[in-house]
Symmetry: C2
Subunit: 201 residues, 2 copies
């Protein structure tokens, strides 16, 4: 009984430290860029010596891995919340889903690079961290299936289209909205191409 309580408090404290490390890492990554993260800066900002970080994370890539997982978890939760108010009309639904992903992606360059680009040399997400990403894709395919999009190729083309616009936005006009204003037009082209029924605009 007492032993359990002690263990719990230790575990809580340990988890709190873990979270603090991750929060500092996110701050630094947003300040200096995803790849510019250094363990020394994380440690000093947290009031630790660099080697002590290895008590909480096995390596630098393990930190990236946890960040990767939490980023996709965050988007998964956003998508789940959005789902309950998703328009029933096929075109409006796709537009909303595309907008949600686009805005989430463009809001944080470092996060997007971590989630969707392989910009960290040698980093591969673990199976565990990858799980939310897989669930999001499955959910999205399901939601598109409900409105009659059953061809996987059509889905991939939609993903490529939205991802391509995000990439352009972040690479050529970070902080701007030039590609954001093209998103609806692009999605409409796709909706026409896959034969979604026209609807009330």
């Amino acid at each position: 009984m007492l032993g359990e309580t002690t263990r719990d408090r230790k575990a809580e404290r340990r988890e709190a430290t873990r979270q603090e490390i991750l929060e500092v890492a996110w701050s630094l990554v947003r300040e200096h860029g995803l790849a510019q993260l250094t363990l020394r800066e994380v440690a000093t900002r947290i009031g630790m010596r660099p080697p002590s970080l290895y008590t909480h994370f096995a390596s630098k890539n393990a930190i990236y891995d946890a960040m990767f997982g939490s980023a996709w978890l965050e988007y998964e939760q956003l998508a789940a919340r959005a789902r309950v108010t998703l328009p029933a009309h096929p075109r409006a639904r796709v537009r909303t889903m595309a907008r949600n992903f686009f805005d989430f992606s463009v809001a944080d360059l470092a996060r997007y690079q971590l989630m969707n680009q392989r910009t960290i040399p040698g980093f591969e997400p673990s199976e565990h961290a990858f799980a939310p990403s897989v669930r999001v894709v499955r959910q999205t395919v399901e939601l598109l299936g409900e409105i009659g999009v059953t061809d996987r190729g059509d889905v991939e083309i939609l993903f490529a289209l939205i991802g391509g616009l995000v990439d352009q936005q972040l690479a050529n006009d970070p902080g701007g909205d030039s590609r954001s204003r093209l998103l609806d037009r692009a999605v409409t082209m796709w909706a026409d191409g896959v034969g979604l029924p026209p609807g009330p605009e």
Copy 2:
């Protein structure tokens, strides 16, 4: 007279060494990945000590810069050769142009990352190295203008679509052809969307 000859031979030798460095760098980058390039490995493979490379390039990023420039120059020349046999029919022309870019991109992951993604921390191409890329975009916009595509937004959507498919191909199915088989369908959707006249298939 004699002085000139001497200078020429020295310049030739110098240029040859430069090219040798770049060739070795390309090999290493294809073997170990774009970001894994180290000056030490370039030097040893070429029979030099690492600091000696600084006689020929001001920094590691200067090597990346030269590689960036030559990669875009290579594609510019490919596009120029392809131009003379480009189909006159709008849809066939766009399909051919898209195919050329897609195949060139997918053929060499490291080259594509260098040309189109910002995967090297701290590397920004110089204005000089960037020039061929600018010319290629201008040429492409011109060629699309000839077939009636005048809206810059439509052009950006096409670029996003093709780039997105390349990214997916390289990230999810490197060496495969899953997205390659979607390219024509995607371009057709775009052609329908921007109102290119239907034609002989």
